[in-house]
């Protein structure tokens, strides 16, 4: 690319359209036959918002079947921006048909890789292997792409198509010999065979394979023998892995037990073999239980035996729960009494008590909650000397007892009770600052009562970073209020996505080059998961909202453009959104599953669709487009699923927005007066107080402040004028300014304290909370 070529593109990207236009027209005059410049011209037209003209010119260019890779890439981009991915791919398909050169097909393939487009990768890889028949590497790559497509959970292909692709992939490799091939090649071939249910072939190949089977191949081999019911072979292989190779793997134990039963080895022989395993491990002891289950023998005695050996390990409760034995609550209570009667204080006894409390909570139908809570505190206090002895970073199990208490107590969801539990959790952290389970729950409680700064503080204390944002950022992002500090936090989180995009792009390409097929399927899926991530969308939409409220126009433009790239999907209601959030880790402690969680909203796909439609509606002025968008906005707002995704007050603010959009983003109609009336009737502080209370009130006020900004922005641009609406908006803004609403929450929590926590510590926490509440108050923004 020449210097001028680069400056044309950068002028377009920076919005310097007349400069771009003059540079480009010189080029077009000089090189009227160069398709590249015509493609750039289309790009300029799209960027200018002249979509129809861009489309007709792009189509005209498409008809000419350009083959210059730069032109193709540019035209591809234009079609993508116009929301026509099919046409984008078609230009390559046509070019490749007409001028089938290896370089061109490779370009097409690399482009598909960079877009994580599994379908096109397969097409391009197939074209390339056809072009160079007999090339082992290209055939392998094409076969993998068939496999990847067949397995893909995101491509929405039918089962029939999946079978077709698997067969096609297998066919491509038929002529190759794999006995001495690389493990990666064998992996692809065996996975295709597996998809085609050809287990016999898998077993045959892997039993005669000359190299060492890696873990992937070993798992495929075991699975194939199992499916083929080759019990004796399976028995011998599993036994060798467990006893000779010392591959201590529970799934392999299960194969061994199943094979043992099916080869008519009797129960005693099977148990004898298990007991011979050295060293005796948790896996081997659980295998004994598994064997009893499979041979349909009593399990309770074995479970008790397991309890005897593992009650002082934290996995005990989970392991035993899995086998659902007859509850042995008397034995549990007896052990607890013995430990409590003794003066010995050690980690093993503590963990046993923690496990026992979990069993008691699960098994005791007549559990006396208050007594249970008191017992947990008593254990906590008795074992406190261990806290002083332990290595700072080592996990401390007694905290879990108090977490169980907190969950029980959270049945009362009032602000003062949440604060009480916060005090308790802060107390635990004071003694043991490294416990992430405590901190995670604490941050969740802070977020639920609008203490953003404290939620964020704890989020950062947990050192949540990089990829962890993807699954955990929802803990702070969803409920955050728009302060300057929070905006900065969100931008920092967003940076992760920008760098991950680039890293994944490079790595997927490199993995293809290095033929690391057993990782590539996950690479592409992960890339797609991040690209269409729900957390990422919610973050982006929060960023836009924050920038708008805080008047950060530069960032507002930047982030809004990203939403605009999805215009077509949003207006057709076909936006792909994938959810990778972790809601489990926060609650995985104590006796599970944990109930009585806090009633926080859980954003979903419909919310993203609604919010994207909102943002596009704010920006769009073309009535044909806005009509479509209003339809989608309305549809999302009325969908059944949206109710759990919005806070109560948001249902109301979105209705206000709907009316506003109908008023300003549609041609004036008879309806206009009714729309104005609705808005005027609702834009009052009194009304706000009716729709929101507690922590929701502060958030609702932010929503209204944003509404006012949106009103100002779109009413300025549009011809419709209404004096009474203008007045109503000004009035409500003034009312909000004069109000003292958040002080209510502050007084509610003034004297909160918690049992078992010193008074001074409680007061300190309450003061901290008050300060944080003030920091996240809507008042900061007016």
């Amino acid at each position: 690319m020449s210097e001028t070529d680069a400056s044309i593109l950068s002028a377009i990207d920076q919005g310097q359209f007349s400069l771009a236009q003059s540079l480009l027209s010189r080029k077009l005059k000089k090189f009227p036959n160069k398709s590249y410049y015509w493609a750039v011209n289309c790009y300029l037209l799209v960027s200018l918002g002249k979509h129809e003209e861009a489309l007709s010119q792009s189509n005209a260019l498409k008809e000419k079947v350009p083959s210059d890779p730069h032109a193709l890439e540019m035209l591809y981009k234009v079609f993508e921006l116009l929301g026509r991915p099919k046409d984008a791919n078609m230009i390559y398909e046509n070019a490749v048909k007409k001028y089938p050169s290896a370089d061109l097909i490779e370009c097409w393939f690399q482009l598909a890789v960079s877009k994580f487009d599994i379908k096109t990768m397969q097409k391009a890889a197939m074209a390339l292997q056809k072009h160079k028949k007999g090339d082992r590497k290209l055939a392998m790559r094409a076969a993998f792409c068939c496999l990847n497509l067949a397995l893909s959970k995101v491509c929405k292909i039918t089962e029939k198509e999946a079978t077709l692709y698997s067969n096609l992939g297998e066919k491509l490799l038929e002529l190759f010999d794999f006995v001495s091939g690389s493990t990666q090649e064998v992996y692809v071939y065996c996975k295709l065979l597996k998809n085609n249910e050809k287990y016999q072939e898998i077993a045959l190949l892997l039993s005669s394979y000359e190299g060492t089977l890696d873990l992937d191949l070993q798992l495929l081999y075991l699975d194939a023998l199992d499916k083929l019911e080759k019990w004796e072979e399976l028995y011998l292989l599993a036994k060798k892995l467990l006893f000779e190779v010392q591959f201590n793997d529970f799934d392999t134990w299960k194969y061994l037990i199943r094979a043992s039963k099916n080869t008519s080895r009797d129960y005693v022989e099977c148990q004898d073999l298990i007991s011979l395993h050295r060293p005796s491990t948790r896996n081997s002891q659980l295998a004994a239980i598994e064997a009893a289950k499979l041979y349909e023998k009593p399990v309770d005695a074995l479970i008790l035996n397991y309890y005897k050996n593992f009650s002082s390990k934290l996995c005990c409760y989970t392991d035993i729960s899995y086998y659902q034995p007859t509850p042995f609550i008397d034995k549990i209570k007896e052990t607890t009494s013995e430990i409590l009667a003794s003066s010995k204080v050690n980690t093993a006894s503590l963990i046993t008590l923690v496990n026992n409390q979990k069993f008691i909570q699960t098994w005791d139908d007549k559990l006396d909650k208050l007594a249970f809570i008191a017992a947990n505190w008593a254990i906590y206090h008795k074992f406190q000397p261990l806290l002083a002895e332990k290595v700072e970073t080592d996990a401390y199990s007694a905290n879990e007892l108090i977490l169980m208490n907190v969950v029980l107590s959270l049945e009362d969801k009032s602000a003062s009770n949440i604060v009480k539990n916060i005090i308790t959790l802060e107390h635990l952290l004071d003694k043991d600052p490294q416990d992430f389970k405590v901190r995670l729950l604490l941050l969740h409680l802070y977020a639920s009562i609008n203490c953003d700064s404290l939620a964020v503080h704890n989020y950062n204390k947990l050192r949540i970073k990089m990829f962890q944002h993807e699954s955990l950022s929802h803990l702070i992002v969803d409920s955050m209020t728009p302060t300057k500090a929070n905006l900065q936090e969100l931008i920092n989180i967003y940076r992760f996505y920008l760098s991950a995009d680039g890293e994944l792009n490079e790595s997927v390409s490199l993995a293809f080059e290095k033929e690391v097929y057993n990782k590539l399927e996950s690479f592409t899926l992960f890339s797609i998961k991040l690209k269409n991530s729900l957390s990422r969308y919610v973050l982006l939409l929060q960023l836009i909202k924050f920038c708008r409220i805080l008047n950060d126009h530069q960032y507002l433009n930047y982030f809004s453009r990203i939403v605009q790239e999805h215009e077509l999907e949003v207006s057709e209601g076909s936006l792909d959104v994938l959810d990778n959030r972790d809601y489990t880790t926060l609650w995985s402690f104590g006796s599970q599953p944990n109930t009585s969680k806090l009633p926080t909203v859980k954003r979903g796909k419909e919310y993203v669709q609604l919010m994207c439609a909102k943002e596009l509606l704010i920006l769009e002025n073309d009535f044909t487009k806005t009509t479509k968008l209003i339809k989608q906005f309305n549809k999302a707002l009325n969908s059944e699923k949206i109710h759990d995704q919005l806070a109560q007050h948001e249902q109301w603010t979105f209705k206000l927005l709907l009316n506003l959009f109908k008023l300003f983003k549609q041609p004036p109609s008879k309806e206009s007066e009714a729309l104005v009336n609705f808005l005027v009737k609702n834009l009052k502080l009194e009304k706000i107080k009716l729709v929101a209370s507690g922590a929701g009130l502060n958030r609702c006020l932010f929503e209204v402040l944003e509404f006012i900004k949106i009103y100002e922005q779109i009413s300025r641009r549009n011809g419709f004028k209404s004096e009474i609406l203008l007045k109503a908006v000004a009035n409500v803004a003034q009312e909000i300014k004069n109000s003292k609403l958040t002080d209510l929450t502050l007084s509610e929590i003034d004297n909160v304290s918690a049992d078992d926590v010193p008074r001074e510590s409680a007061t300190e926490v309450v003061e901290m909370i008050k300060k944080s509440l003030k920091e996240s108050s809507y008042k900061k923004c007016i």
Binding site: Q324, L462, Q468, F523, F526
Partner: protein, 196 residues
Amino acid sequence: MTSIKPFQIEDLLDVNPVNLDPLTESYNVQFYLEYLIQWPTLFFKSTEISDFANVEKREISGYMMGKAEGQLAKKEWHTHITAVSVNSYYRRLGLASHLCSELERLTKGPPYETLFVDLFVKVTNTLAQQLYEKLGYSVYRRVVGYYGRTLPTDSSKIDDKIDAFDMRKLLPRDVNRETVRADGKNHNVLPQDVTF
């Protein structure tokens, strides 16, 4: 009930219970991708099955991230433990030991056949040191300022908070035991001396 499976990049979305641990580092995605591409067999995880209220779940209980590097001619061709970490609910069961032994088994023979396994551990992380000692590792040298923010220049300025021990375990290929030493704690080096 632990099973061993290959690590996949998507697992990053499920490792929170392991990575939220204060001593377990989370890196940028590129770092994990590089390991998966370069040493796909040396990155594996342990998984557990649980069942509460009849909802069966598989969760990640730990992982091993390893690599092989260094020149054989310089007697530096070795296996390196980059990260090993176990969810606190599954500790003291021998899981980390098993993950280490697996890595050792995978690299002591072909195709890797390295001379030794090594790792860096914080001088203050005595728990992990006990684990490695039990497995036969010993300190080879102290890397001064390995975990510090700035690159140190003086190897005599020791500081437990930011120094690391480079611990090693001999593998059968080093028949003459040339890559380990008994008095490792007395050898101080700088971070720039331990790159391969």
